[in-house]
Symmetry: C2
Subunit: 222 residues, 2 copies
Amino acid sequence: MEQTLTNSIQDYLKNIYELTENGESASTNALASRLNVKPASVTGMVQKLASAKPALVEYQKHQGVTLTDDGKKAALEVIRHHRLLEAWLVQTLGYTWDEVHAEAEKLEHVISEDFERRIAAAMGHPLRDPHGELIPTADLQMPLDDSTPLSSLRPGQFGKIEYVKASEAELLRYLENLGLIPGADIEVKDHSPFDHNLTIKMGRKSVVLGLNITSKIYVKES
Amino acid sequence: MEQTLTNSIQDYLKNIYELTENGESASTNALASRLNVKPASVTGMVQKLASAKPALVEYQKHQGVTLTDDGKKAALEVIRHHRLLEAWLVQTLGYTWDEVHAEAEKLEHVISEDFERRIAAAMGHPLRDPHGELIPTADLQMPLDDSTPLSSLRPGQFGKIEYVKASEAELLRYLENLGLIPGADIEVKDHSPFDHNLTIKMGRKSVVLGLNITSKIYVKES
DNA sequence: AATATATTTTAGTCAAGACTAAATATTTTG
DNA sequence: CAAAATATTTAGTCTTGACTAAAATATATT
Ligand SMILES: [Mn+2]
Ligand SMILES: [Mn+2]
Ligand SMILES: [Mn+2]
Ligand SMILES: [Mn+2]
């Protein structure tokens, strides 16, 4: 019997994907805090996902979880929905990039595959969402990401912003006001080694950004 | 404490509204069959809705339920969502009138009030959905319905179809093929008193329709 | 290596919303 | 109008996905 992917399961898988994108495993606590749920609840759900047939996660006590191939497909399906929806809310209903996330978070679980196809086609099969994040393809492959966090650049390096990995509206509005949006060209002017602040120049403006911002802005070095 | 309107509660309220539009009360069995749920489950939910604060339904054992003013507002909110969504799926994504219902059924519960306003504005505040059904206004009033069921017309009477109260895809395609869609002008040519069949003429075509169809087509006599 | 701290798991509860089976009420009919 | 048929309610159960409190394990610090 095929496991039903409830909203809750979809959210777990999506968040496990996002935590493990770079190889590490997702810890109980990290998942709990992203999902706004207690760690004990995560353990329960993770055990269930691990013993589902087919299994959706790989799990060993105290070692965190990683997605199985089935789990990854399911996660990418949700992420594709989310990012297509965000793009489409912006393009057709005039939402701004700081407004789309909450709406997409709810819609992602309920749209049909037909709806997914229709909005993708209507937009000409976009590659990125309004934050610049890559949209998984229709056959559920995540395109290759050739960017690095801005926090890894040093004075003298130049880059173009590819995406901003953030959903909090205030941060997004702050960045937009500064012109720190996908496509923007920036130059790193200064680095303070102890607090990890970077001084960034875009056009004629400069701004000092802390690590909690620079680690969320992904750039392509140029 | 304000009652949370779960998806399930929203569906109960919507269906109670539709069953009681014409004054009667909604029976346990009728609700159960619309909601694809057992009668015992309906009794349980209805008792809960009746003792919610504020109460959403009026309930007396074995007498069925009616909506309170609060329940009615909540029902109209869901119906407004549903019908706006149907209109919008047709207008912007090329859905046909037989495809929209299932999608709207899921989306109706998750869109925000902001989304509702945006699609209403984008369509110029439409009055009717793709089936011709009236859309409750933004302040949750149901506009006056000046139509009657086609089944109440008799030979010699003329009418224009205002709406079709149906969601089954096959029936809708059948009617569309016959040209029996909102706006169509029809004439009743014959009535067979025992089986309630009506012979309907539209343009140069004629068709005999049974009561289970003519009771779902609402017309304005002309 | 021993202890303190942080993380994770277990065990037991709860609420929502369905279900079945049995009891009761209402309606229809001979 | 009483029996039969139909409709509704009650009582008890189940699943999902949370929660708290307590126990177990892992990691960090001395
Ligand atoms: Mn988002
Ligand atoms: Mn979600
Ligand atoms: Mn509909
Ligand atoms: Mn619904």
